[in-house]
């Protein structure tokens, strides 16, 4: 296999507009070679359009696409060393599985395809089905055929357009691991488009969160989760509690803020908002980072922890954890996930409690943003 070290995918100033509608605002993106990269976002955010511009199935309104050193922006899809796994698999109904997988090889003029096709079918565990037609296979099997059909061509980049969307939960989990395994084994760059944030975080080395045609934040799943830079990312990946606070002073590497009569501490490095005294900041903390103590035991809480008082409005026992919703003067609906180790029987709706957490787990966001951006709404458009 050619070892082409300059195989980074580089999008420079890529944009796509349809008439007056901008699907993708000019964006720059570099996908390191050999990485598993995820484009994550809700439907309509522009992630599929971006993917299709890399594939050549959409012409960019502006900007360039580079694969390594080669500029491919104006090349039609059949001239790019890139293959796509489509959302609905797009298997050719009039050809059997063997011919489907062999399609790309044949179009490139390769004569003897038998060995390669058989090897590839073995790789995705479909050796027995070679002569069946697509409609005779299950959804999961079709999906593997789609992957095989793309991979057999040794593309520089494999593009996956929400390939697991049509599968049921268990199968999806299985395929996620499967794809990750294949990518590690094969070593090709995978660019995976999905709206499922768990999927993105499980599979990808790097995730780019997209919203309304722009990339909100790019980084490893851990970075994005633990230190979101925008409210959208904070709310879209998992759940966040966002508290409106005002900057009071700075103390060493920490910022001290006032909120609801109390003080909160936030490391300056974890604050992506401007921090002038008196300025507004959204202080964020994830629900699982918070400890819940009954108000009577408030004295036992360690020093140096951020603390808030409130009353339990709701509690749901999930099994693995208990999820609480707290009413607090500082923040209306505060969510806390308490791991189910020892259950305190006093923690029932109506109880007065103190919430506390390690300041190092706090992150800060620009208060000018929409506090509800990225929160899942009831009326979702069908993906």
């Amino acid at each position: 296999m050619t070892t082409d070290n300059s195989g980074d995918v580089r999008l420079s100033g890529i944009s796509k507009t349809y008439g007056s509608f901008t699907a993708v605002h000019p964006l720059d993106l570099t996908v390191p070679q050999g990485s598993f990269f995820a484009l994550l976002g809700a439907s309509g955010c522009g992630k599929t359009t971006t993917l299709r511009m890399i594939a050549g199935l959409e012409e960019p309104t502006s900007g360039t696409v580079h694969l390594g050193e080669q500029e491919v922006s104006n090349l039609p899809p059949y001239k790019r060393p890139v293959n796509t796994v489509f959302q609905s698999y797009a298997l050719f109904p009039h050809l059997d599985i063997f011919e489907n997988v062999a399609f790309g090889l044949r179009r490139r003029g390769i004569k003897s395809v038998k060995k390669q096709v058989e090897d590839m079918l073995e790789l995705v565990q479909l050796g027995e089905q070679a002569r069946k037609k697509p409609h005779q296979l299950s959804g999961g099997q079709q999906q593997r055929v789609a992957v095989a059909r793309a991979l057999i061509n040794h593309p520089k980049v494999l593009l996956l357009d929400e390939p697991l969307g049509a599968l049921d939960l268990k199968l999806r989990r299985q395929m996620q691991l499967e794809l990750k395994r294949i990518q590690t084994e094969v070593g090709i760059t995978f660019i995976h488009v999905t709206h499922d944030q768990e999927e993105a975080m499980t599979m990808a080395d790097t995730v780019a969160v997209m919203n309304a045609g722009r990339v909100e934040q790019l980084g490893s799943p851990t970075d994005l989760y633990e230190n979101p830079n925008t409210t959208f990312v904070a709310n879209f990946l998992g759940t966040s509690n966002l508290i409106e606070a005002e900057v009071d002073t700075k103390n060493g590497g920490d910022i001290v803020l006032k909120a609801g009569g109390g003080k909160l501490v936030l490391p300056e490095a974890r604050c992506s908002a401007p921090t002038t005294t008196g300025g507004k900041v959204l202080v964020g903390v994830r629900p699982e980072k918070i400890s819940l103590t009954h108000a009577d035991d408030a004295g036992e809480i360690a020093e140096g922890r951020n603390r808030i008082t409130g009353r339990i409005a709701d509690s749901s026992f999930i099994g693995v954890s208990t999820q609480y919703v707290i009413d607090s003067p500082v923040c209306p609906e505060f969510e806390v996930y308490a791991q189910n180790i020892d259950r305190d029987a006093r923690l029932v709706p109506g109880a007065e409690v103190v919430l506390h957490w390690n300041p190092a787990h706090t992150f800060g966001l620009d208060a000018a943003q929409d506090i509800d951006a990225g929160v899942a709404e009831v009326e979702e458009d069908a993906a």
Binding site: T2, E59, V72, N74, P81, V186
Partner: protein, 307 residues
């Protein structure tokens, strides 16, 4: 991973090329031959016909465009009964086609199960048999001494239809009833196929949902199925009424001089009497009426569902 063949090297990318709009002219090249054919052999003749209708002259002297619009007036005043008759017969046939055809289309779409293909074949296959031969068969079916007419006679149905003016004497042949029968028969497939297409698109689960919401079968039909099948109904009506209005074969084979439709007149004028201006005028009136109907339809429903 089995490192098999390497991907063949791909062409080096061109230097700086402006983003090209790929194949923007392709659709026009695809359309050109067919549309040209239709323009020359469909649209253009219509214009020639309009021009002929305002010409005067004769076969010996030749024809010249004299803008002799009186031809229209003369034609209309002489042949308005045939126009009216054509509209009446075509309307009757269309209604009958709808009433008869809808159950069959519904049956094929929803109730046929594994018989669907067979029934479709039986609907379409007669198409392939010469319609003239089949129309002539009606002469046998509706023969004076045949079983059908005898039965109608015994049941006194003929008395009723005589009174309505649809038949006369004790005959069905050579009466309006026979012509309408023939028209209905000939144009049924043109009603059934669009209806079927429209019905087939309806999700069967809508019926279930309606039933779940307390609708009786007839109500479901009235409130859900029929409205959703409207595009097919309209399309089928257009494709039935219009050709039927201009038909002359049924009137000629199954009717009499009293049942002559406008199509018969045009045919006679064109092929026997050779009065081209009059024939062209009549034809133009018919065509104009139809264009008007189609235009109204297009205004209401757009052109995307037409073809």
């Amino acid at each position: 991973m089995a490192a098999v063949t390497e991907a063949p090297p791909l062409a080096p990318a061109p230097e700086t090329k402006p983003p090209r709009k790929r194949g923007r002219l392709v659709p026009y090249w695809l359309l050109l031959p067919g549309i040209l054919w239709l323009i020359v052999f469909f649209a253009l003749p219509m214009i020639y016909q309009a021009s002929t209708s305002v010409q005067t002259g004769s076969l010996e002297e030749g024809y010249k465009v004299t803008w002799h619009f009186a031809t229209y007036w003369d034609a209309l005043s002489e042949y308005w009964p045939q126009f009216l008759r054509s509209v009446a017969y075509a309307a009757a046939a269309t209604v009958l086609c709808l009433v008869l055809g809808y159950p069959l289309a519904y049956l094929i779409a929803f109730r046929a199960g594994r018989w669907r293909n067979l029934i479709m074949i039986l609907v379409i296959a007669p198409f392939f048999t010469s319609f003239l031969i089949r129309t002539l068969a009606w002469k046998t079916i509706l023969a004076d001494s045949g079983p059908v007419v005898s039965t109608l006679h015994t049941l006194h149905v003929l008395d009723l239809t005589n009174w309505l003016g649809w038949t006369s004497g004790d005959r069905v042949l050579a009466t309006p009833l026979a012509v309408v029968c023939g028209l209905t028969y000939n144009f049924l497939p043109f009603m059934i196929l669009p209806l079927y297409t429209s019905l087939e698109r309806i999700d069967g689960r809508l019926h279930e949902a309606a039933g779940d919401l307390y609708a009786k079968p007839w109500t479901t039909f009235r409130k859900v199925t029929f409205p959703l099948s409207m595009p097919g109904v309209v399309s089928g009506t257009l494709l039935t009424f219009i050709p039927a209005a201009g038909d002359y074969v049924n009137a000629e084979l199954l009717g009499s001089t009293d049942t002559r439709m406008i199509g018969n007149v045009i045919q006679t004028q064109f092929l026997r009497i050779l009065d081209y201006p009059t024939a062209a005028a009549l034809s133009f009136i018919l065509m104009a009426a139809i264009l008007l109907m189609v235009t109204i339809y297009i205004r209401k429903s757009g052109t995307e569902d037409l073809v």
